[in-house]
């Protein structure tokens, strides 16, 4: 048996010599090695090393090597040395950097101060690395990108180093509306209403309710809603206590609906959670600050390097998103110029950051009004953070649609989106409190486009001036039929 397999191995060696990047050969080699009665793993490792010394980016070999290492139990520190060696000889190597990122958390795990109450369900292993080692890694990767700032693998690794923050899985907001007898819950990540164990307890009694996402287009949603049985909470003179349990995660959130109140909520704000900073890191500010300094130093030498600019933007956001807003926007402008092939990507990213900043500003001001006008917005995001918003103004941007996620704005009463390129209103769907919609100067051309509005029961006022649809023959009567609740129609 051993002989047959060994013969097969040497045959495969011959094959790999001809084509070292053959999927089939490597896979078969793995199959044979796994069945070999007396495998010679040291030999397999040295074969891999030879192959990698010929082409250090041969990812087939990397895959095979990982398998060999796993089976033969090579110590992690040895593997880290191996990665050191490969990076030392040529650091333009995603595979080695990536390999590092899997080894470091095992070898130098972060010592956790807080009790491990919120162990993530995705894996028991923390993906963070202890600070001492992190600083070494920062130094290493800085050497790489200062040596060759156009090599992206180092930059990606750098981003991994900076952005290992894992958000705890929580219920970020519970909102209850007395009038609608409805509960809306926002989670830290999109979840599937059917698969996740959610329990609603009202005044100490578990309540059978049906959770659903805000829009039929997607099942996974960071915001789920449910209707309470009629008559449970509609008496204003009663006080109610609600608790939503996320049983899978052992987390819950309470919400009290006091006497005389028509609605109530309980939540962590984006500012509380430092939500948008975790995009990069929850690393100590001092570390980030010094990283920003060194990357800025590089930028002085290489003012047009896109990786450098992008990293500066990310670091600035991690440090102080509002304070650096102006500089961030300027850098985005440069980025779009130097890397015009990706200008749309940068636009979208910039939008995202603008929206994040606007959310932060709104929360600092403690209002429920979200206004972001004249900012060249091309897309919307973080809409789950806008669950409580009653007034939204998106005028004078470059939006083409209100996506299904828009339906997460469950408290929305007034929508202003004048002077955009809107032609799709899919997301204006079952918004129970929506009364006014202003869509002046958009690209709405057919009645079908307006169909979603019919699902909003309270819609009173609609401004469609400057849209192609107003040119249609019997538009007024058709609209009256489509939207019977609208009393104030401007065409």
């Amino acid at each position: 048996m051993q002989k047959i397999y060994e013969a097969e191995l040497s045959f495969l060696e011959a094959c790999l010599k001809v084509n070292p990047k053959s999927y089939g050969s490597w896979h078969h080699r793995g199959w044979v090695s796994a069945r070999l009665p007396r495998p010679d793993w040291a030999r397999e490792l040295s074969l891999c090393d030879r192959c990698l010394s010929l082409d250090d980016r041969n990812f087939h070999c990397w895959d095979y090597r990982r398998m060999v290492v796993k089976v033969s139990g090579v110590p992690v520190d040895q593997e880290l040395e191996f990665s050191d060696r490969l990076i030392g000889s040529n650091f333009s190597n995603y595979s080695s950097w990536h390999y590092r990122s899997t080894l470091l958390p095992v070898l130098h795990p972060q010592t956790r101060q807080e009790p491990p109450h919120a162990s993530s369900p995705r894996g028991p292993q923390s993906h963070r690395v202890c600070e001492e080692q992190l600083l070494k890694e920062y130094e290493l990767v800085q050497n790489a990108f200062f040596t060759d700032p156009n090599d992206q693998s180092a930059w990606f690794y750098y981003r991994w180093l900076l952005g290992r923050a894992e958000r705890e899985e929580t219920i970020s907001c519970v909102y209850v509306s007395r009038e609608d007898e409805r509960v809306a819950v926002a989670f830290s990540r999109p979840i599937n209403a059917r698969c996740v164990g959610l329990l609603l307890v009202l005044d100490g009694q578990p309540l059978r309710v049906e959770w659903r996402s805000v829009h039929p287009r997607f099942r996974h949603s960071p915001v789920l809603i449910c209707d309470l049985p009629p008559g449970t909470i509609n008496d204003v003179t009663n006080e109610h206590n609600l608790t939503v349990h996320w049983t899978g995660n052992h987390t819950h959130r309470d919400c009290a609906l006091y006497t005389g109140r028509v609605e109530s909520w309980c939540r962590d704000t984006a500012t509380d959670q430092e939500l948008f900073r975790s995009e990069l890191s929850v690393e100590k500010t001092s570390v980030l600050q010094s990283e920003l300094q060194s990357v800025k130093q590089l930028q002085e030498l290489e003012p047009l390097n896109k990786w450098c600019l992008l990293t500066i933007i990310l670091l600035m956001r991690a440090l102080d998103p509002l304070g650096y807003e102006k500089e961030t926007l300027a850098h985005f402008q440069t980025l779009k110029e130097v890397d015009s092939m990706r200008s749309e990507y940068y636009s979208d990213l910039c939008c995202k950051f603008m929206i994040e900043n606007t959310i932060l500003k709104m929360e600092y001001a403690e209002v429920r009004v979200f206004s972001i006008t004249d900012r060249n917005l091309t897309s919307l995001c973080h809409l789950d953070q806008l669950l409580l918003v009653t007034h939204i103004n998106l005028s004078s941007n470059r939006l083409q649609r209100l996506p299904p996620q828009f339906a997460m704005l469950q408290c929305l009463e007034v929508l202003e989106a004048d002077n955009n390129f809107l032609e799709n209103l899919e997301g204006v769907y079952h918004l129970p409190r929506l009364q006014e919609v202003s869509l002046k100067n958009n690209k709405i051309s057919t009645l079908t486009d307006l169909q979603p509005l019919a699902s909003c029961p309270e819609l009173k006022r609609l401004d469609l001036r400057g849209n192609p649809v107003t040119q249609a023959a019997s538009v007024e009567s058709d609209l009256a039929e489509l939207l019977p609740s609208v009393t104030d129609l401007l065409l």
Binding site: K17, S46, R50, F146
Partner: protein
């Protein structure tokens, strides 16, 4: 061979087996010329030769004894009408001067006195053996008194007041077992000590020629693993490749960026460069805002030029360096395993494969010149045979007085050291280091130093072979000993330190071959002169010279076209048998495997061989 007479007619007679002569020999044989290649010496490669330790001692002695007086014979009986003679002289007459040997290794093995005696006896036995086995080497008489050798030499150099060697090298470092002089002699065959110290640029003309002509199959190379420079009394590694820059601990990240940017940008010419065309390179570097550290690296270690080299030349050598970088590894240089003396021999071998006839210890006494045509018609060899030829190629040393009278001799100062450790110890003991010592740092002129480890097969395990070269100001000892004292541990060293100890050293001056040749100075038009080694690090000079000579001899022929595999050659009347064909296919395959030495992808010199040893098991 001795008794037989040589054929009396050749196309080309070549005297001297230095690099340029050997390349000409290979090139001429390759295109079907009948070549006779002679050398008066008992060894190949003239001043390009590599010697074992013992053979070097013989060579030293020969040099010091001076040439045997040659009785001027009268060859006029061999002359025909209208012919005259040009007498040639002894090549070694002037080329090597100021030899000085200093041995610091203890005579006996101090640490283990019990075995010392045994070793000595084994030693003499081995010497006897080597004497017997080596035909080429003349009787190694002095080896019997090898110990006396060093002392002898010293006696001849009275101007150096020097404590008695050996005695002075006290047990300063009792922890490390010292290598004794007896061991050096015993392991003498492990040394291949070059008279010249040069390296091959990976994209230099010699490497190109070796590949183009297939001569590369005869030898193997190692990458120089690091470039060092001596600055403010310290040795620093010069980061020159991307990986070096990345790994460097001396450079700040900003310096790294600046250096990388400069290196990548200087590959292309810009208008800016032209603006500096009349100014020195050092000024150009200054204006690049590189910082002192980087300027030093770029000027002295990468461009390897001086402060006043013009920008154009400086940039050209920087580019040459960068182009060579990464072809075979992390530095731009290659060094032939078994020493530089291999290279002329490889070309000789190629010439012999294509019919060239070789005789050592066989010289040409006179040229017979046709007075009217001013052409060399024939030569008279050292045995008095008249051999006619259409071209005569000669090492300039044989022309003796003719060259030294007309041009002031420029000399190179050389030092060869055997040391016990590396000048800059690192993780790996097997480092091949190229070290630049800028002018003014210790010596007046710029010194190039190459430190070879034992895996280059030029020195015994546990030792390093260090070559120092610079343009002479005084004698080699005057020029270089101060630097040696500073960088190494010798009895003269002031303060003790962890520096490598010198076990044995040799200083000598060699004529600088870059001095304009004696071409056209009353020599017949078909006599071509090759100069000896010059001081530069590369081989460009000799290769260019060989190509020029070849073109003068055979203006219409290709210079060193690829040689076929020996098995592919079909000799007259011999029909290729199927088995021969098979063989040649097999051979070609093997070539591919074993001849990976000079293939682009073969970056694994260090690990030895390529994928095959692993895969073939």
């Amino acid at each position: 061979m001795a008794a037989e007479d040589l054929p009396s007619e050749f196309d080309v007679v070549i005297l001297g087996t230095g690099l340029a002569e050997s390349v000409v020999a290979a090139a001429c044989s390759r295109v079907g010329q009948r070549v006779l290649h002679l050398d008066r010496r008992s060894y190949y490669a003239a001043n390009w030769a590599s010697f074992t330790f013992n053979a070097l001692l013989t060579w030293i002695q020969e040099q010091q004894e001076g040439p045997q007086p040659e009785q001027g014979k009268d060859w006029s009986s061999l002359l025909n009408d209208g012919e005259e003679l040009i007498h040639l002289s002894n090549p070694d007459l002037d080329s090597i001067t100021n030899i000085q040997v200093l041995s610091y290794a203890s005579e006996e093995d101090e640490e283990v006195p019990d075995t010392a005696k045994e070793e000595t006896s084994a030693n003499s036995q081995l010497e006897a053996e080597s004497t017997g086995s080596r035909e080429e080497e003349s009787a190694e008489a002095e080896e019997e008194s090898a110990e006396a050798e060093a002392t002898n030499t010293k006696g001849e150099e009275p101007e150096v007041d020097q404590s008695h060697p050996g005695a002075s090298s006290g047990p300063s470092e009792p922890t490390r077992k010292k290598i004794s002089y007896a061991q050096l002699l015993k392991e003498g065959r492990r040394f291949n000590i070059d008279l010249v110290s040069k390296l091959l640029f990976s994209r230099g003309s010699l490497v190109d020629l070796l590949i183009r002509s297939n001569v590369s199959r005869y030898t193997e190379f190692k990458n120089v693993t690091r470039i060092l420079t001596y600055r403010h009394g310290n040795l620093q590694q010069v980061p020159c490749s991307r990986a070096d820059v990345f790994a460097s601990r001396q450079l700040s990240v900003v310096e790294k960026r600046k250096l990388m940017r400069f290196l990548t940008s200087c590959i292309e010419e810009t208008e800016m460069d032209q603006a500096y065309s009349s100014q020195p390179y050092s000024k150009y570097l200054q204006d690049q805002q590189l910082g002192e550290n980087l300027q030093h690296f770029l000027l002295h270690s990468i461009a390897m030029v001086t402060e006043d080299t013009p920008t154009e030349a400086g940039l050209a050598s920087t580019r040459h360096f960068l182009r060579s970088l990464g072809r075979y590894g992390n530095s731009p240089f290659l060094f032939p395993v078994y020493g530089l003396g291999e290279i002329p021999q490889c070309f000789c071998r190629m010439s012999a494969v294509f019919g060239g006839i070789y005789c050592l210890r066989h010289s040409v006494s006179c040229l017979i010149v046709d007075k009217d045509a001013n052409r060399c018609k024939a030569v008279i060899d050292s045995r008095g045979q008249r051999i006619s030829c259409s071209h005569f190629v000669v090492e300039d040393g044989y022309l003796g007085s003719r060259s030294s009278v007309t041009t002031p001799t420029r000399l190179l100062s050389r030092a060869i050291l055997i040391t016990d450790s590396s000048v800059l110890p690192s993780d790996s003991e097997q480092q091949v280091s190229m070290v630049t010592i800028p002018p003014g740092e210790v010596c007046q002129s710029a010194v190039k130093m190459v430190e070879l480890c034992s895996s280059t097969m030029t020195c015994m395990p546990g030792t390093y072979l260090v070559h120092l070269t610079c343009q002479s100001v005084g004698s080699a000892f005057e020029d270089l000993s101060q630097l040696v004292t500073k960088m190494f541990q010798t009895p003269e060293s002031q303060e003790p330190g962890g520096r490598p100890s010198v076990l044995w050293s040799l200083y000598f001056n060699m004529a600088d071959g870059s001095v304009p040749g004696v071409e056209g100075q009353g020599l017949p038009s078909n006599v071509h002169v090759c100069s000896g080694p010059e001081g530069s690090l590369d081989h460009e000079h000799s290769i260019k010279q060989a190509e020029l000579i070849f073109q003068r001899i055979l203006p219409d022929e290709e210079f060193c076209p690829p040689a076929p595999n020996p098995e592919d050659i079909i000799y007259d009347g011999e029909s290729p048998t199927p088995s021969a064909e098979e063989d040649s296919v097999k051979e070609a395959g093997q070539q591919e495997e074993s001849g990976g030495d000079l293939k682009e992808a073969g970056q694994q010199e260090e690990s030895g061989g390529d994928l095959n040893p692993q895969l073939d098991q």
